[in-house]
């Protein structure tokens, strides 16, 4: 079972929930994998430091010219929807940052003059954090496209026990990549106008993907009641309300897990786990 912890807005407490939820699941004896899919700003390792780490470089295929056979016809340049290729009579220049690795230019070339070679753009990591299987991805600084590495990270994670995915924020392609195929999507929000605005977008995204999300309201006592009213109107299940607590922020600031010592959070997580594991709310994201 794969549970994706997501949020429209950044900084709502997604990583706090995801890392502590993983810890709590393992604590109650569930075979648990934590996946940090926020590859642009991955922070899960700070809270669930992995040991027995193995890393591998992530690469995408990049078209490259095999010099001899190119006739300089320019078909590759004309085909490329992403304007990633500039072809002259004696040279083919490929812009890796623009290439989506669709492979179309290879087919478009009448001279069979292109081939694909791997090009690295990130690192994949796996290890063990106590009883939790840990996986994460990290996009190389300067690389623009995070979606391919997220897709690979998710695809390579065995779907055994419970997999907790820490999604990137937002509602665009990278969040979609993290949410695709999820059994449950849990949105973490905060009761501010920002939180509400971004929550609405995230709910819309979930529905487009064919799943019904549930929600955790973090810092539930700071802000206003609009998020609450929205959730009621939309009949979206609320898994937990977590009030603001300075000690929780302090624990987070020390990059420690809160669940082992913080009783209110522990209780909230227990409730979340029993709801998520027993209930059939949700439905698989397309």
């Amino acid at each position: 079972m794969r549970i994706v912890i997501a949020s429209g807005k950044g900084g709502t407490g997604k990583t706090l929930i995801a890392t502590n939820l993983a810890w709590m699941l393992a604590e109650v004896g569930v075979d648990t994998t934590y996946v940090d899919a926020d590859v642009e700003a991955p922070n899960g390792h700070l809270f669930l430091p992995p040991t027995e780490v193995t890393t591998s470089r992530f690469s995408s295929p990049l078209p490259t010219l095999k010099e001899a056979t190119c006739s300089g016809c320019g078909e590759c340049q004309r085909f490329c929807a992403f304007h990633a290729i500039i072809a002259t009579t004696d040279k083919v220049l490929v812009f890796p940052e623009l290439c989506h690795a669709c492979g179309g230019c290879l087919d478009a070339c009448p001279d069979n003059a292109l081939e694909e070679r791997p090009r690295e753009s990130g690192t994949l990591l796996r290890g063990e954090s106590g009883r939790i299987h840990f996986r994460s991805g990290s996009l190389d600084v300067g690389e623009p496209r995070s979606t391919p590495i997220i897709e690979t990270l998710i695809a390579e994670t065995p779907d055994t026990g419970v997999v907790v995915v820490d999604s990137p924020p937002g509602t665009s392609c990278s969040a979609v990549a993290a949410m695709k195929g999820a059994d449950q999507v849990v949105l973490v929000t905060e009761p501010t106008p920002f939180g509400l605005h971004d929550l609405q977008l995230a709910v819309e995204l979930c529905r487009k993907m064919g799943c019904s999300p549930s929600v955790i309201v973090n810092r539930s006592d700071l802000g206003d009641t609009q998020v609450q009213r929205y959730l009621e109107a939309q009949s979206i299940p609320v898994l937990a309300q977590i009030p603001f607590d300075r000690t929780l922020s302090d624990i987070y600031a020390r990059s420690e897990l809160a669940a082992p010592t913080h009783e209110p959070l522990r209780q909230a997580l227990r409730k979340i786990i029993s709801t998520v594991l027993t209930n059939s709310i949700g439905g698989k994201a397309a």
Binding site: Q77, A81, F82, H83, A84, I86, T88, L93, F95, L98
Partner: protein
């Protein structure tokens, strides 16, 4: 054959239009042949491109046989693409009309971009 010069402009029109300072996302180009008075308008196909406006604009320059292009600034990918395609890049200060930029080019008082110094 007379050399063809392109100038990025804020909208397709005559040489009295203001130069646009962005190469890749300029709305249009004016093409001028040699010293001749004739001006050809060219809408920039890349303004609606989802990706790679700089490289797409560069490709359009080569397709139209442009020898040198005058603009305010060139992005790193546009620079690389134009260099590969053998199109000269010249930068003019913003606020000039296309005619003024062209005059400065012919006087030889514009700067030619030759060294890639973006990243």
């Amino acid at each position: 054959m007379a050399q063809k010069i392109a100038i990025t402009v804020q909208r397709a029109g005559t040489l009295d239009e203001l130069m646009d300072s962005r190469f890749g996302r300029a709305p249009a180009f004016l093409l001028v042949e040699g010293d001749g008075p004739q001006v050809t308008q060219l809408d920039n196909p890349a303004t609606t491109a989802a990706h790679g406006a700089g490289t797409a604009s560069a490709a359009a320059m080569a397709d139209h046989g442009v020898h040198a292009v005058i603009s305010g600034r060139f992005g790193p990918k546009a620079f690389e693409a134009l260099k590969t395609l053998g199109v000269e890049m010249w930068t003019a200060p913003s606020g000039l009309t296309a005619a003024e930029a062209l005059a400065k080019f012919r006087e030889g008082t514009l700067t030619r971009m030759a060294v890639e110094e973006f990243r």
